[in-house]
């Protein structure tokens, strides 16, 4: 008589009430296990398709993320970064406005690094560099090259696996986040830095 006809079952009110109760208990367990999530990301990073490399970084500019998405992804990355950092090289990068930065120990990780290309359009600048946790936030250490035409500045370099925070520095003093970076470190991590993920961030 109450045979369900439609897609969903016809439930008695007390069934519905009970289901709500069960669902509430079930959902209590929703909080993700940050460690487990980081391990998934880590495994994914380790099972990259052979053609992988870091080419996604260039295509990432086409990834028009809205803020919610970017912040969400950032949250995951920061969690992963802390975890990976703790596993790889738990040492502080001195002046970086960063907590729990990933290990950037060149001696152990450089061999596992990947090529990264930074690009910035900076009209009027006479010199542009990249500063980040990979060079101790040194505004002079890593200059970019002017592309020769227009206002483009380019730099290719190898970065160790992991999550890195960085910023561009114009004319030695003006710090500017990467407008094409899909991720930005929020204020908890010192304000307006950008974030780059280098493939193969393996925690093991």
């Amino acid at each position: 008589m109450t045979e369900p006809r439609d897609d969903d079952e016809r439930r008695e009110p007390h069934d519905q009430q009970f289901d709500e109760q069960v669902r509430a208990a079930y959902r209590r367990a929703l909080e993700s296990d940050a460690g487990a999530e980081a391990r998934v990301l880590s495994r994914l990073a380790g099972t990259k398709r052979p053609s992988g490399g870091l080419h996604w970084w260039l295509s990432v500019q086409a990834f028009e993320l809205r803020p919610a998405l970017a912040l969400g992804a950032l949250a995951v990355l920061l969690v992963g970064a802390v975890w990976v950092g703790a596993r790889l090289a738990p040492r502080a990068s001195a002046p970086a406005p960063v907590a729990g930065a990933p290990g950037t120990d060149g001696a152990t990780n450089a061999a596992a690094g990947s090529p990264v290309t930074f690009v910035l359009r900076a009209p009027g600048a006479t010199r542009v560099s990249v500063a980040g946790d990979f060079n101790n936030w040194d505004a002079e250490a890593t200059p970019m090259k002017h592309s020769g035409t227009g206002d483009m500045w380019i730099l290719s370099m190898t970065l160790p696996r992991g999550v890195h925070r960085y910023s561009f520095v114009l004319d030695g003093s003006e710090w500017r986040p990467d407008p094409s970076a899909p991720l930005a470190a929020d204020e908890t991590f010192g304000g307006h830095n950008s974030v780059i993920v280098v493939n193969g961030a393996k925690g093991l």
Partner: protein, 184 residues
């Protein structure tokens, strides 16, 4: 759930297919907790659940080209997850272990969330105990994940009438073992 500001799964999947790594990260962020919660309740064993979820994402991303947008990404992902969980369950059975060890789920909740979590988790864990995998699976998909039967049929391979029967029986079982809800 969708609003103007929310990037849809389809958009993110399209980016992931195009090779954008961060899109994969975003999909993990969106569904990892969801998958782990389901696997924990279904498999019972903490480590097995985590393995199932890891395998699920790896397989899903390897097979992303096979995903059709007419299906929800979550349902597609859960299809893989359900199969991973079944495999894990069969493995455990072969090793003559019990299919579930729900104490682990509750204990984990204790670590994470304090007393309220423990109580809720223990109620659910103990009420699910004794349910066979088929019934447990159907019940969790329906009541826990609020999937509709057509979706469930696609991802479990079972027919809708069978699923309805499983959910009903499972509900009766859980209700009978649910503290404070034994009598209406």
């Amino acid at each position: 759930m969708d609003s103007e500001d929310v990037v849809t799964d389809a958009e993110v999947v399209a980016q992931a297919r195009a090779g954008v790594e961060l899109a994969r990260v975003e999909l993990v962020r969106r569904y990892h907790a969801n998958c782990l919660r389901f696997a924990r309740h279904l498999v019972g064993d903490e480590a097995d659940a985590e393995d199932c979820v890891q395998e699920t994402f790896i397989r899903a991303f390897a097979a992303l080209s096979k995903y059709h947008e007419r299906d929800s990404f979550r349902a597609w992902l859960f299809q893989i997850l359900v199969h991973r969980c079944r495999t894990a369950a069969a493995r455990r059975t072969r090793h003559r272990e019990r299919f579930v060890n729900d104490g682990q789920v509750a204990d984990r909740a204790a670590v994470r969330g304090g007393e309220a979590h423990v109580d809720a988790q223990r109620h659910l864990a103990s009420a699910l105990e004794g349910l066979d995998p088929e019934h447990r699976e159907a019940f969790l998909l329906k009541v826990g994940e609020e999937m509709d039967y057509a979706e469930m049929a696609r991802l479990t391979g079972a027919g809708v009438p069978a699923l309805k029967m499983r959910v009903k029986r499972a509900r009766d079982h859980v209700r009978a073992h649910w503290p404070g809800a034994r009598h209406d």
